[in-house]
Symmetry: C2
Subunit: 324 residues, 2 copies
């Protein structure tokens, strides 16, 4: 599989970032070290560092410099996950206990704060003020996105625009700036930064749409958590919005969502999942995701045809197709 080939080829650099990640949460404070390493070991695809490393190849590739982007971006992502788990009362993530369930909400909040602050000390080693400005502005949007998500829980009157803006803030932006900052830190031309931002943004949108689809179509084994987690916490996603537009189903679907809301998510959501799965809504959402992937790949057309470009295209296709 192409993705594995890419990771294999980048193995050395990814391993280096991984070691730096571990070192970065090193602290004399035993509990923080434990919570942070717990998070780190829980893994993930490190997709943000990979995007940084690939994007940096459009400039002067210097791993010792771009690690100051790759490492903090993954850490910021991790910090938001811990805080998310507090909000979601999540007990597991990727099949592992969350910090909030293994310790408690207070520890999880401060672990998030700590990892976040540590990330900033690493980025602060770079002197380019654009980096700090891009990074801090993205984090603001990220926090607004988090709070927006809460505000729109169970809101069946939200529009497609609300949804898209939310996933932009929640997911696409951090991936966009991973690509952009990889290019900035490697001193690529400014139009290259913008192209890579656009690539990352579109890939990020597709990524979150796919993620939202998987929560509706996956099995507990595939997801590491039961399907329907989104609706259980009130998160209305793209296929559900499409279904709500369908007059054939709107009435029963509204009633079903209201039933779940009243039960505060503590109920069987199989009827809900069936309604969504039986219509064309998943397929429609998939189409929009594919359109974002097409736009991402289109954005790259102006870049020189180096291996990193082909890798970015392959990753974009993989994200568009993913069904894991």
């Amino acid at each position: 599989m192409k993705l594995l080939d890419i990771y294999a080829r980048m193995k050395k650099d990814i391993a280096y970032v991984e070691r730096e990640l571990e070192e970065s949460v090193h602290t004399d404070h035993s509990m923080l070290k434990e919570t942070s390493l717990h998070l780190l070991k829980a893994g993930g695809k490190r997709i943000r560092p990979v995007f940084v490393l690939l994007s940096a190849q459009f400039g002067r590739y210097d791993l010792h410099r771009i690690k100051h982007i790759a490492v903090p971006l993954e850490m910021i992502h991790m910090a938001t996950l811990v805080h998310d788990d507090v909000i979601d009362d999540a007990d597991t993530r990727r099949g592992q206990l969350t910090v909030r369930s293994k310790w408690d909400n207070r520890i999880a909040m401060y672990t998030g704060d700590y990892i976040f602050a540590k990330a900033l000390t690493i980025a602060a080693q770079l002197n380019d003020p654009r980096i700090h400005q891009i990074l801090s502005s993205a984090i603001v949007e990220l926090t607004v996105g988090e709070i927006e998500q809460i505000r729109y829980f169970y809101r069946t009157d939200q529009t497609l625009r609300h949804y898209l803006l939310r996933i932009k803030r929640k997911t696409a932006l951090l991936i966009a700036i991973s690509c952009q900052l990889g290019a900035v830190a490697s001193e690529a031309d400014e139009d290259v930064h913008n192209v890579l931002y656009r690539f990352g943004y579109n890939v990020g949108m597709a990524f979150q749409i796919r993620d939202d689809i998987l929560d509706l179509t996956g099995t507990e084994k595939e997801l590491g958590k039961p399907p329907g987690s989104d609706i259980r916490q009130g998160n209305i996603t793209l296929p559900v919005l499409y279904a709500l537009e369908d007059p054939q189903i709107r009435g029963v679907l509204l009633a079903e969502i209201e039933r779940i809301r009243i039960a505060d998510g503590q109920t069987d959501v199989t009827p809900f999942l069936k309604m969504i799965r039986n219509g064309p809504y998943i397929e429609e959402a998939d189409k929009l995701s594919s359109r974002y992937i097409d736009r991402a790949i289109d954005a790259l057309s102006v870049l020189p045809d180096i291996r990193a470009k082909r890798d970015l295209v392959d990753i974009a296709h993989f994200i568009g197709d993913r069904s894991y």
Copy 2:
């Protein structure tokens, strides 16, 4: 009173910082705007911005530049307060409802994240990399301090050193870098930065010791919350550590603290307060606070005798004496 004179003289610049603070939390997001403004309006002495403004007078004083330090430092302070209130289950602060009680813990967590991120976007306008490094390292220590505080709740075996390190991280460091960064941003000589850091550190230590004393000696009216809040949440402060060293009282005090711990703080702490107030422990703590004030003022001796220096001395004295 000298302090009021100082604030009166700086009125224009403080008002400017205040307006910038309000503008900085401006967002189209109505709930975040509301929670942030709620926090902002709850007030406070804005002691960190005042220290920034005064310290900047040892270099080229340019309000439009140093606002990028004064505003974020106050915001970072505010962000830690919202997160603290979540940890402490605090319903009021300075007599006002906290964000977590007016909204909820989730909103408070994200409001803190948001204000914190916004603070960074403002500091990011300055190009001096030292500023970002100093700021981000201090924030790391701050988060470690927060988690340390939790870890030492009700720990009667902790030493004076534990306590001092904790209040350094929790309070003194942010005041120290307020003074330091005021000088850095106004391009004062590097030894001036260090002198002002030392001043701020010592003032900050005295400030927190005084604060901890007041929680034991103040009335509900003076404090805006009942006295003994610290012990109720398990926070062992300096006078209590002194009392624990007194063999005359150690036994009964340990039993009393254990009683409060078992009741999870939901009990009458009058017996505890009486024990502490009746001994020489408050006075001893006061002495240590005064020693920090002396050191703070000593640190300034090498600086030129400008008005800002006399103001810093006056504020230090005020903090040493404060009994509000």
